[in-house]
């Protein structure tokens, strides 16, 4: 019974990832094999040079760094902003809370995008265009609603007595948050951080628009797109570029994933 379950899970799980395996395998093939192999992901011999070529031709080195900076910046800002907001929305019944909650929920339903021109003008007025900061700020603001909701749910589920005990011990508002609540929210920090990192890492349109004057600020996703445009028929290199682009975020997920479900479970308890 359990053996059958494992076999079924393993086979279907690996089949589920077939497109990724196919990309990985194709990234190591020669041009001719790519066309004759069809759906077989296994290369007949491994052409590691594809990675070197893709890395050099698309100047992935610099893009890599930009993507890391943008992702880290976006994650940090999002975590700070949403954990604070989620905390007060969960724990204090301040006047105007209902209005804030309503506003936050309403934006969840509105179609986003296509509002790039007002955002662009705004960034220009504060002189942040063509900097990594603009990408980070715009990116972070896109994820604050969802993150706030998750933190709110998580903090609501934490025992109120803990907080009261801290207050009795003379801890003030900030100390309660920083010393009691925040350390307890590790799984949620990992969850929101991971969601934000995935979006920031993969984002295309925002970095494209906000770094248009300075190609040296481009991210991997834009580099990848430009690469497709310039080397549109070098599909093995394209697959190598895909692997280069996706590998770091996959790795990050694998490292953080054990916190992930626990964090979500905490948020939905309410």
């Amino acid at each position: 019974m359990t053996v059958m379950t494992h076999v079924a899970l393993l086979v279907s799980g690996l089949a589920w990832l077939y497109p990724l395996f196919w990309a990985l395998g194709s990234s190591l093939k020669s041009d001719d094999d790519f066309f004759t192999d069809g759906l077989n992901p296994m290369p007949s011999h491994f052409l590691w040079a594809n990675y070197l070529n893709a890395w050099q031709e698309a100047s992935f080195g610099r893009y890599f760094m930009n993507t890391i900076l943008i992702t880290v910046g976006t994650v940090v800002i999002t975590l700070v902003v949403t954990s604070c907001a989620g905390y007060v929305l969960a724990r204090t019944r301040f006047p105007g809370r209902g209005f804030c909650l309503g506003l936050v929920s309403a934006t969840l339903f509105l179609p986003h995008g296509y509002t790039i021109i007002p955002v662009f003008d705004l960034m220009q007025r504060v002189h942040l265009l063509n900097s990594l900061w603009s990408v980070i700020i715009v990116q972070a603001s896109g994820g604050v609603v969802f993150g706030t909701f998750l933190f709110m749910g998580y903090f609501m589920a934490i025992d109120k007595e803990l907080e009261d005990a801290a207050m009795v011990d003379g801890a003030n508002f900030h100390q309660t948050f920083a010393r009691i609540m925040l350390p307890l929210s590790g799984p949620m920090l990992a969850t929101v951080g991971l969601f934000t990192a995935i979006t920031a890492w993969n984002s295309f349109f925002i970095p494209l628009v906000f770094t248009l004057g300075r190609p040296e600020l481009r991210t991997l996703a834009i580099g990848m797109y430009a690469f497709i445009g310039e080397n549109s028929t070098e599909w093995t290199l394209l697959c190598a570029g895909t692997v280069i682009t996706l590998a770091p975020i996959i790795l990050l997920f694998v490292l953080l994933q054990r916190f992930f479900v626990n964090g979500l479970a905490g948020a939905v308890k309410q």
């Binding site: 070197l52 100047s59 930009n66 900076l69 220009q124 942040l128 248009l212 004057g213």
Partner: protein
């Protein structure tokens, strides 16, 4: 040219650079592109969307910087299908490049009226202009309000050709007595060749193939075939795409040739003569499949060639304008003059930007353009087929007679530049995809509807433009097989 770095050192580097990089990114907002102006060496920024032509541009930059040690050119190749949007945003943020390839949208007249571009008359004197062919500088094309903004770079050439795969043709027995490949000239020749390929290969090789994922290539087929039948508007390239300047109207529905070509294509399709994935693959994929002999014929432009050359695939021919009878009744038409790069009005390095402008337009740069097989040069002496060693490209150079200067409404009445034609959706590309995939069951009806909508849109746009009438688009005395000289104010 970075060497592969281990993940660990990469992460360590990232941590160290995080602070510095963020600071650099922050301070850039105030400095802008002119920051390096105080140094001895001036850096000018240059934008284009030339991806497959990048090797030519990069080489020119290298040579230019050798000749001008005090100027550095910083090239940015923007993603081509976002180019127009990015240029527009760059001007919005007052941060455009010093010199740029002229975007195809918005209309050049609008770019001039928005004060995007700087007139170059100061440098482009009459003697500078005299090295170009006659009628290269034309009001409404590259001259606006008497001022020169850009100049032609390439000579008129047939935009589209039918490419013939020698291997597939030989396997199907389509050869002449001397063993050379029998090139089709008429529609019937094409049909017969397709029939031979289909039957000889037993269905393994498709006679035709294309890559329509960007929804443009089906119109290339219509364009190429319908011109041969005598419809000068074509469907995909030319003035205001597809307009018949004999009457100043679109004729998709009323000119019988369009339906004839569509019926021909649909007949071929009903015989399964098109490579089955043609609608979903990209033009690039189609190019790779043609190279590998998956199909024998495809329609495309000269942009196919550099890559095939790079892959050492040279065993193909090209023919243009296949016709119902022997000689094509209409040709490809281009405007006199033309556009390539322009200097931005916002530049603070106008002289250096002009130097690069002048370099790109030099006969030598054009010569290298032709030698690399990128296209034809505006300077006729560069386009001698004898000096081109590569056979398919010399075929291309030799067929340059199939493209001539056509009528140009903006020359006869400069106010025509103010006509802003709104997009009509669905357009000819959509309609063709609808017919091809069987979603539009009545081709004639769809074509008639499209013709009506486009002429209606033109009529509305004309009403909004003072001093313009429908007559401004009609040239009744046009002989389709000859170059046409539009007379100002006639």
């Amino acid at each position: 040219m970075s060497s592969p770095i281990s993940r660990r050192s990469l992460l360590r580097g990232a941590a160290a650079l995080a602070g510095a990089g963020a600071l650099a990114g922050c301070s850039s907002g105030t400095s802008g592109s002119g920051a390096s102006g105080s140094k001895a060496k001036t850096t000018i920024t240059y934008w284009d969307w030339y991806a497959s032509q990048a090797s030519w541009v990069d080489n020119e930059i290298k040579l230019f910087q050798q000749a001008h040690p005090d100027i550095a050119v910083k090239k940015t190749t923007q993603v081509s299908d976002k180019y127009a949007d990015l240029v527009s945003l760059a001007y919005r943020s007052n941060n455009p490049p010093d010199i740029l390839m002229v975007p195809k949208s918005p209309q050049l007249s609008q770019q001039v009226s928005q004060d995007w571009l700087m007139p170059v008359d100061k440098w482009a004197t009459k003697s500078w202009q005299s090295s170009f062919p006659e009628n290269s500088f034309v009001e409404g094309v590259d001259v606006f309000g008497g001022k020169l903004y850009t100049a032609p770079f390439a000579a008129p050439a047939p935009s589209l050709q039918l490419y013939i795969h020698h291997g597939v043709f030989k396997d199907a027995g389509l050869t002449n007595d001397d063993g050379s490949v029998k090139l089709p000239k008429t529609w019937d020749d094409v049909t017969q060749a397709a029939d031979a390929i289909a039957s000889k290969s037993g269905g393994k090789v498709a006679p035709f193939g294309f890559g329509n994922s960007t929804n443009t290539t089906l119109a290339w087929w219509l364009d190429l075939f319908v011109r041969g039948a005598g419809s000068p508007g074509g469907a995909a390239v030319g003035g205001i795409d597809g307009m018949d300047y004999r009457v100043g109207q679109w004729k998709f529905g009323s000119d019988r040739n369009y339906l004839d070509v569509i019926n021909l294509l649909m007949e071929w399709k009903s015989k399964n003569w098109f490579y089955p994935n043609s609608m979903s693959i990209s033009d690039e994929q189609a190019r790779a499949f043609f190279e590998r002999g998956r199909f024998g014929m495809t329609v495309g432009g000269v942009w196919n060639q550099p890559e095939w050359t790079q892959h050492k695939f040279t065993d193909y021919s090209l023919v243009t304008l296949p016709s119902p009878s022997e000689a094509p009744k209409a040709l490809f038409y281009g405007p006199p003059g033309g556009r390539f790069v322009a200097v931005s009005s916002k530049t603070s390095h106008a002289d250096e930007a002009w130097a690069w402008f002048d370099w790109l337009y030099s006969p030598d740069a054009g010569k290298r353009w032709v030698e690399q097989g990128q296209g034809l040069s505006v300077y006729a002496k560069n386009n001698d087929p004898k000096s081109v060693t590569f056979a398919p490209f010399s075929q291309y150079v030799a067929m340059s007679g199939a493209a001539v200067v056509g009528p140009q409404p903006a020359i006869r009445n400069p106010k025509v530049s103010a006509v802003q034609l709104p997009a009509v959706k669905p357009d000819i590309n959509d309609v063709l995809a609808g017919i091809y995939t069987g979603q539009l069951k009545d081709p004639q009806g769809a074509l008639t509807e499209l013709e009506g909508k486009m002429n209606q849109a033109l009529g509305d746009a004309i009403k909004k433009a003072p001093g313009v009438s429908a007559k401004d688009f009609a040239f009744a005395d046009w002989d389709l097989t000859k170059a046409y000289t539009t007379k100002p104010g006639a």
